[in-house]
Amino acid sequence: MSTQAATQASQQRMSCASGLWLMFKLPFMFLRALPWLGEIVRREAATTTGERAQASYGQLTTAADPAAVTAVLATIRSRDAGFDLDATTRGIVRARWAVHQARQSDDASVARLVMSGGLWSVFAMLLAKGAASGVRREDKSAVVAAKVVAATRDQLAEQLRIRLACQGERCERIGQQAVRGEPGEQATWDEDWIIRRSAAATTPANGGVLSGRCPRCGAALDIDAGGACTYCQALVLTGGQDWIVWSIEEAPW
């Protein structure tokens, strides 16, 4: 009994001493922020956070004027007779499925065949970091509608923003805690899938990247570690020859 009391007293003294030591150190810890005050102020001025961030850049871009979208699509069709918006949209839904599979399996290579090189690099890094932090994504959703909400074309590139209306449930957890979404809750949301290609590119006869074909040689798309078609060695995921998934934007959740 006396041993227990002595141990408790010793622990109390230790915690008291560490509390006093912390109090002593506390002002010095704040002083460490002194060289960074200017940086903190500048960063606060340049950054929006929390719900404001979601309400500004986090939101999906407002749909463009439908007449302007129609005009750009007509220009694309007049230049590229093989362009088929329905087939392109189906290709995007297929690409979404590949990205979904990659997230579920924590294997970024599954999405390699549909994303631009840069997008895939960032996607692969995020997946690896997320897995290291224990992030798990649960997603049982389907695309119920799709619509082109913006289309641009200049001398260098063409770009379509296709808004997918999705339905189902999705959630991201770390351990048992949901950090995004509500587990088991049915919801509808929008995702913008932006595809882009060079202004000189035309739709390949076999459908191209979004149909799982090499836009140059027509073989079933299979790329080497360097991003080139294993049959004809063409770099197919740079957007120079065909549509590639250029960006994926989700409404805040």
Binding site: A33, R42, A53, G117, S121, M125, V179, A228, T238
Partner: protein
Amino acid sequence: MVIHVLHIIRDVIGYAFLGYLAIWILAIAIMAFLGVVLVISRGSPDAVRNVFRQVVAARASKELIHVADQAESSAGVGGALRQLRTADPAFDITAFLDSARVAVGAYAMAQFGRDDRLLRRITTPGFWGTHNGKMIIQLMADRRRSSRRTDTSTYGPAMLDVSWRQPVVQDVALGQQGVDRITVRLASVFVGAAPAAGANPPALRRMDAATQLDWDFVRPAGRRTDPGAVLLPRTCARCGGPYRSEFDDACPYCHAPRADSQAGWRLDRNYLVVDSGGR
């Protein structure tokens, strides 16, 4: 003699106490200042935040921040891009912006994930002398100290998403000071989760942040794009072995340094962009 020594000791203790008191006062002033800044930037109406941003934009060095209305005309940029394309027919703006996205991801990995390996491969030596480069160096040093103390394997918030919004080529300068330079303005959106302070049991809170930056990419003037090298190389040029991740600096098999990539463009510096009109 003894009394004299005791007086000296008393004075020393007194001065030490006064010094410690001064440090507390300074610490409280810093806390109060940061509190005011956070309340203004995060909890105030837009009008107040805009005044705050205008003050920061007016006072900060142009080496550190850009103001949102400082933009070259789109016609001027378009003309310069055409000139670049004439001199370098393999240059492709889509591939260029795609590699700019990798820089955004690499910067976020260094800033939030405390992993600067990819950023080191795609930046110029000059980047590490800039303010933001030094900040990353400081973060990495903090990480090393933290890992020695706590033996943890993960640092910073868990990263849920990093994306970019609305990339726009702001400026193209060809051949100035021996380099071609392209400036891209975009907003990088970060979504993460970090342990909430003081929560028991440990709970995670969401961290959402959107920051607008200008990114300067450079390459030696007159350099031409190699059409076969527009992406980050994923196999070793010497032995053909595959790299295991984007973070590999050297071949895991023959240990050869990873080759230059991004078609020769490297991140030279980036600037925070303050939108004083509010967003």
